[in-house]
Amino acid sequence: MLCDTGKSMTTQPHTSAPAPYWTWGGLSEGAWRSAPLIPGTIVFSMVFGTIAAQKGLTLTDTVLMNAIVFAGSAQLVAIEVWKNPLTLGAVLSLATITAIVNARFILMGASLRPWLGQLPTWQAYLALLQNVDANWIVASRYRGEGGGDVSIYLGSGLALWVIWVTSVIPGYLLGAFIKDPARFGFDMMLPIFFSAMLVQMWRGSRRAIGWGIAGVVALAASYLIAGYWFVVIGAVVGSIVGGFIDDE
């Protein structure tokens, strides 16, 4: 098979990749790299604003939720169990649902350890607090290419954060402004962007075997288990297998 034996990057990415550093220019570079996701993020945020309005949240609370939670899928699922007023049980179930839908962030954080682990602790944790799918994938791809500038990670996250926090306002106020986001494929924005990123992340067949297993296991899990567990189950099984495949 196609093993990139010529690339030392493939076998030693964490020892040959540069130590993490910060630059101002990296912030705008990171924002630019996440730009393909901006239209989808605007629509997603507007849809969430519309639903939040229907559930009886105030505009202030909706903007606050977008600003400090900043996790679209989890918010969309959690808002379904939202009640006014909230009981203790409802508060706990909101936290539980949010943690389950965001369980993929646990794996994303783990994957960033070899890079961000070299930063001063407070910087690493501060950067991680703004982790979402988009800036994680932008940063992972950049790191995979041998980059070390953590500002890429922060900049792409902050750009989407600004979009996420502001776009919810027109969505809330206009109500059913976007009647059918699926018509323009915006519901598929994330998998489409991720599949494009995956092409750039290709580094030979050893990892691809683990990826293939991750896909098969995740697909099976998505039919067998309700909710979003398929991401975690597929990714964990695939990467464990990848860990046991030796380089040729």
Binding site: P13, H14, P36, L37, L57, T58, M65, I68, V69, F70, P85, L86, T87, L94, T98, N102, A103, F105, I106, L107, S111, R113, G117, L129, N131, I137, A182, R183, F184, G185, F186, M188, P191, I192, F194, S195, A196, L198, V199, Q200, M201, R207, G210, W211, G212, A214, V217, A218, L219, A221, S222, F230, V231, I233, G234, A235, S239, I240, G242, G243
Partner: protein
């Protein structure tokens, strides 16, 4: 069991969601700081980013049916040929819009 007469405002719910999210954002990173990074663990971490991506893309694409498969296929082919994510994403969205418009 006692009944629970206490009720909470929306801020409590939002804070609970925020704390739960921050927990997921930091705990994996923290845990990996307490695991010895052997060759196996390093290879797992190398495989992990792509594995997460595939584990998200494959089920969501399958759920979207033929239109989803076409869209992701167009995106991947465009990306392999042109290496431009703006173009690839735009073509992927165009593909799924057209496929759905034609009832695929």
């Amino acid at each position: 069991m006692m009944s629970d007469p206490a009720v909470y405002g929306p801020i409590a719910g939002i804070l609970a969601m925020a704390l739960a999210t921050y927990f997921t954002r930091v705990i994996g990173f923290w845990l990996m700081g307490h695991v010895p990074v052997t060759v196996r663990v390093r290879r797992m971490l190398e495989t992990l980013p792509g594995a997460i991506v595939v584990a998200i893309v494959v089920p969501l694409t399958a759920k979207a049916g033929a239109a989803g498969v076409i869209a992701v296929g167009v995106t991947v082919v465009a990306m392999v040929l042109r290496r431009n994510e703006f173009l690839a994403v735009a073509l992927g969205l165009t593909a799924i819009s057209l496929a759905r418009a034609y009832g695929i």
